[in-house]
């Protein structure tokens, strides 16, 4: 029942995941599954008010409850002398960065803002005690709509951010874009809302902190996508402990989709609480708590326009967006609606003039940050909706107008008007493959026939581009990142030729242990089963930046490939010495070193490794042992692309939308494990379908969260989904050693536009030109009236 033997599972093989045996048997340990001796539990009292002053907090009854070890407020954190901050990690010019403390000091700014902490012997008591804390609030007006929040007189989230504006950002060339519109033969224009989403990783966030007051060391197990970032921010901003005294460990992590990138107060609170009570402290969010603490996604109000010439060519794009930041700036929040959004406005199109303006706006809501796709789904949505609207106003078929405007395959690298330089692409190739698979012409015939019978079918295209694997670090830094975007890897060949790989990435469902081992198996010619991959522990690997933004294969995988290459180089030097040949005459194939032309005289990698460790007979100047570390900083982003097509049927009686088919042709460069890549596409599509048809976080006018539980917020179920049809084209990335791009977010970037374009197509007989997400049955029904 243990693992299986997979001799030659190298790059390109759909080998089953080695992660799975522990997961399917329930043996894998997630953070909340861990128990330490003497462990106690922490809960956090949260504001029920969107906006309120705190007059006083009475904790005495809670403290008196049997089993309660301590009840703390912001005052206690301040008194303890720790910095107590929850910082933002991406700065923009003029960005307002109001103080964000681990607990609300005198004002709460969203429903969910932390107010007090309980530490108790068991979870039930820790929850009981929350009910015995009495807060005297002074309720104030709140606001949730990012556009209305900028109006004069709107309730202010922070006094030092007038009109609630956190930043005012632009990209592109306003003048040339305005000129394009002045010369346009047609203009397509849309007002859209990109709906606010709640990530809903199935594992709620959790932390188990163990502070040792003798050694001054903190071990923090937590649900993280990037342990090193968390260690850095815990040390610098929250706890003030020296970085080397903090060890952050990611046990099994149950999905993240962005929500476990960010540095929140809660995990820092668990750590601080452990420092107070001198015992290990565990905090586990309830699902309802995740709804008011996990950073939300999207939440834009946007006006977009496309200028088109008489030949149906796009000559200008103008976009104006109000993007909610929520009550505080979450870790990477300012980057999401700016450098991950405005820079994507060229889509797959050769667009000569673009101008995008964005206000980042504070609202009395849960902070907004990166959620699967982060900025790129929002950009793709407005661009692809405008393309369809352009098709409508010009009377050109949506396929044809796309063809006319694609960046041509011989035009790469392609410099857009919004900073990015696309590495490689063949957009028409993916489109053609998708159209053929869906049977585009037949569909149009079927659609017309169905309409005659009062049946409304629609087809929607989304020809998307993604920019992922942000890099290089210097460029990202110049845009405001307070983080590097390189990645680390250690490839350690043991004396017996077995291999351990350490990566600075931190997977949470992506199957890195499998795919990274596949990379190394191919690079070193070592059997796949002889390679272990270790991630997610700041105590055992060099600094890394974690897993998000579809970066792990392109950046982390490349780091591994380059470390493996260094290993081979060193082993070659040793092998040459052992074979008494010149190094340049040594060939390396299938794990064996041999002198050119005489493969029978060879040294296998394990042979060389043993010699490297014995160090009895090494060439001059060569150090013992066989391992290499790489810090790989990519030359550029990578740019996956593709075509997604949705076919929907709309029920004319109820407005219900059913997805009949969903087809995706993605180009993610070279593919390490096709099965895993398809799985990533499926999951991304499902989340995009969720956004387009089902999911939305609803705040009322007073900024109370109405969709505050899983009973109200629709995480898609199995029967909402069709069987997905997936295929791909392969255009390798030219600038990384593996030729890989990224796939984690493609599905969620492409699919909302495909689905909504399909619904609008279905509703075109009713004169419908746009419908906002989520496209609920009632909205459709209203649109048909």
């Amino acid at each position: 029942m243990a693992g299986e033997s997979n001799g030659a599972a190298g790059f390109g093989s759909s080998i089953r995941r080695r992660e799975d045996p522990e997961l399917i048997t329930g043996r894998a340990k997630y953070t909340d599954d861990l128990k330490l001796a003497g462990m106690v539990y922490c809960t956090i009292l949260r504001s029920d008010y969107a906006h309120a002053g705190i007059n006083s907090i009475d904790t005495s009854e809670a403290e008196a409850l049997d089993g309660v070890l301590g009840v703390y407020t912001a005052k206690d954190i301040e008194a303890s002398g720790v910095p107590g901050g929850v910082p933002v990690g991406w700065l923009l010019p003029g960005l307002k960065t109001p103080e964000h403390f681990m607990l609300a000091k005198d004002t709460t700014r969203y429903v969910g803002d932390g107010v007090a902490i309980v530490v108790a012997e068991d979870q039930y008591t820790a929850h009981d005690a929350l009910e015995l804390i009495y807060v005297d609030y002074d309720p104030r007006d709140g606001i949730a709509d990012p556009k209305k929040a900028t109006a004069d007189g709107a309730p202010l989230v922070h006094d030092d951010a007038p009109n609630n504006i956190a930043f005012d950002w632009e990209i592109g060339d306003k003048e040339s874009t305005d000129a394009a519109f002045a010369n346009a033969a047609h203009v397509a224009s849309l007002d859209i809302v990109n709906n606010r989403l709640i990530p809903n990783a199935m594992e709620p966030r959790a932390a188990l902190a163990d502070y040792n007051d003798i050694t001054g060391e903190l071990v923090l197990y937590m649900t993280t996508q990037n342990p090193h970032i968390h260690r850095l921010l815990m040390s610098l901003a929250s706890l003030g402990l020296p970085e080397h005294k903090i060890r952050v460990i990611a046990p099994e992590v149950g999905g993240g989709f962005g929500s476990k990138i960010h540095h929140y107060a809660d995990e820092a609170i668990a750590a601080w609480a452990s420092m107070q009570v001198g015992r290990p402290v565990k905090w586990t969010a309830t699902r309802t708590e995740t709804y008011i603490t996990d950073a939300h996604g999207r939440d834009h109000v946007t006006h977009g326009e496309m200028a088109i010439d008489a030949d149906g060519r796009f000559i200008g794009l103008r976009v104006d967006t109000y993007a909610a930041m929520g009550a505080y700036l979450s870790t990477f929040a300012p980057a999401v609606p700016t450098y991950l959004y405005g820079t994507l406005m060229s889509g797959e199109y050769d667009l000569p003039a673009i101008y995008c303006h964005v206000y980042g706006v504070f609202t009395h809501t849960v902070p907004v940050d990166a959620y699967r796709g982060a900025g790129r789904p929002e950009a793709t949505f407005i661009v692809e909706r405008l393309v369809d609207e352009a098709a409508r106003v010009t009377g050109i078929d949506p396929v044809e107008i796309r063809r006319r405007n694609f960046v041509a395959p011989d035009n790469f690298p392609y410099q857009t008007q919004v900073a990015l330089a696309y590495d490689s692409g063949n957009y028409e190739g993916a489109l053609d493959k998708a159209l053929e698979a869906i049977g585009y012409d037949d569909f149009r015939t079927e659609q017309a026939a169905a309409r005659e019978q009062g049946k409304y079918l629609g087809l929607g295209l989304s020809t998307y581009i993604e920019a992922c694997g942000l890099a290089p670090s210097a460029v990202v830094g110049s845009l405001g990142a307070q983080a590097g975007q390189w990645e680390s890897a250690v490839v350690r060949v043991h004396a017996t030729g077995k291999v351990t790989v350490y990566s600075g990435c931190s997977g949470h469902g992506q199957g890195h242990e499998t795919t990274f081992a596949q990379i190394v198996a191919s690079a070193l010619g070592v059997p796949y089963d002889d390679i272990d991959v270790v991630e997610g522990d700041t105590g055992s690997m060099p600094h890394g930046w974690g897993t998000y933004g579809s970066r792990s294969a392109a950046t982390g995988g490349s780091a591994i490939a380059s470390a493996a290459e260094k290993v081979v180089d060193k082993a070659r030097t040793i092998a040459a010495h052992l074979l008494e040949a010149a190094e340049e005459d040594i060939e390396f194939e299938d794990g064996n070193f041999f002198v050119k032309g005489s493969p029978d005289q060879s040294q296998s990698l394990p042979d060389v490794a043993l010699q490297a460790y014995l160090a009895h007979n090494l060439p001059k100047g060569i150090e013992p042992a066989l391992e290499a570390t790489s810090f790989y900083d990519p030359a550029n982003f990578v740019y996956p692309f593709g075509t997604h097509i949705a076919i929907v049927e709309v029920c004319s009686q109820t407005g219900n939308v059913t997805l009949q088919r969903y087809l995706a042709v993605d180009d993610v460069g070279n593919v390490i494990n096709p099965m895993i890549v398809d799985g990533q596409v499926h999951g991304g599509i499902a989340q995009g379908i969720g956004q387009s048809l089902y999911e939305t976080a609803v705040y009322d006018d007073g900024a109370n969260l109405l969709s505050g539980t899983m009973l109200d917020y629709a995480v898609p179920k199995a029967h909402f989904m069709p069987s997905f049809e997936t295929d791909r084209t392969v255009t390798p990335c030219p600038h990384n050693p593996l030729g890989v791009k990224g796939v984690g977010e493609a599905g969620s970037i492409a699919s909302p536009a495909a689905v909504v374009n399909a619904v609008v197509d279905a509703l075109s007989p009713f004169g419908v030109t746009h419908i906002d997400m989520p496209v609920t049955s009632e909205k459709v029904w209203n649109a048909m009236k």
């Binding site: 009686q653 899983m710 629709a714």
Partner: protein, 285 residues
């Protein structure tokens, strides 16, 4: 996530349960627990004691005698949906029970709990109304019977007294020429009914309609009967046209909306789904 403290009783008879209930005014009856435990976990309910009636054998039977079907209050949806006796005598109830929640919920939730809880979006109240069910109730002063139409009083409120327990649901077995259908339009998150329609029609010898009932849940504070629709169908040939015209005037009093679906939309859903339920019932008659 974590209920507050309570005492737990596990009586072995209805009398004992009623006794404990009348001795503990803040106590609540626990049946399948699939409405009560969720609200207790969110601490929206904090009863001082739970009286677990789940092991009282007298509440667990399904029987048919003298043209009437009797189902004990603690019979689960799964048992109802899969019972040959129920499928035969009250197929509407089996169909509605089979659409409740998900398979896990159907193994635990009970007919008695569903009706007593009287959630406006629950599936069984409309079916019970459409079938003209009689509910048997036990209290400290003995037993009484209530018709389904008198049972549902208001939002989450029934004519059960605080010290009474619903013990049995009685339904006249379907006669020849009768067809029924339950059609549900789900809320995508909760899976409860945005609108559910329970229809029963009976056709006479010539095929014309001799009796009809159409009831809804999800639209207003309680399950409701659309008497006007039913009345206008009697005597008709039950053609699609007849059904269409019968539902066209449907208007459910006090329809309620929420952030997901407005009252007006629910009214329209009721028409669409009501018509669908009637057509299916007709085809099955």
């Amino acid at each position: 996530m974590f209920p507050s403290k309570f005492d737990y009783h596990r009586p072995s008879s209805v009398q004992e349960a009623v006794q404990i209930l009348s001795d503990n005014p803040d106590a609540k009856v626990l049946a399948g627990g699939h409405s009560l435990i969720p609200v207790m976990k969110l601490r929206l309910a904090t009863p001082s004691a739970l009286i677990d009636i789940g092991r009282i054998d007298a509440l667990k039977g399904i029987s048919r005698a003298n043209g009437s079907l009797r189902i004990g209050a603690c019979v689960t949806y799964n048992e109802i949906a899969n019972s040959g006796v129920v499928q035969d005598a009250a197929p509407l109830l089996a169909e509605a029970a089979g659409q409740i929640g998900d398979r896990q919920v159907r193994y635990r939730g009970t007919i008695g709990g569903n009706l007593s809880h009287a959630d406006p979006a629950s599936d069984l109240p409309a079916a019970a109304l459409a079938l003209g069910a009689t509910l048997h109730v036990s209290g400290p002063n003995g037993s009484r019977s209530v018709s389904a139409s008198e049972f549902f009083v208001d939002l989450m409120m029934t004519s059960l007294q605080a010290d009474e327990i619903l013990t049995e649901v009685e339904i006249s077995a379907a006669s020849a020429g009768t067809g029924s259908a339950y059609v549900k339009f789900e809320h995508p998150a909760s899976g409860y009914a945005l609108c559910g329609a329970a229809a029963v029609v009976t056709r006479g010898a010539g095929g014309s309609c001799t009796g009809a009932s159409l009831c809804f849940n999800g639209v207003s504070a309680t399950a409701v009967s659309a008497n006007g629709v039913a009345a206008s169908l009697v005597g008709s040939d039950l053609s699609d046209g007849a059904v269409e015209s019968a539902v066209s005037n449907l208007s459910i009093p006090d329809a309620a909306g929420d952030m997901f679906a407005s009252a007006g939309y629910r009214q329209e859903l009721a028409k669409a789904i009501g018509a669908q339920a009637l057509r299916t019932a007709r085809d099955r008659a």
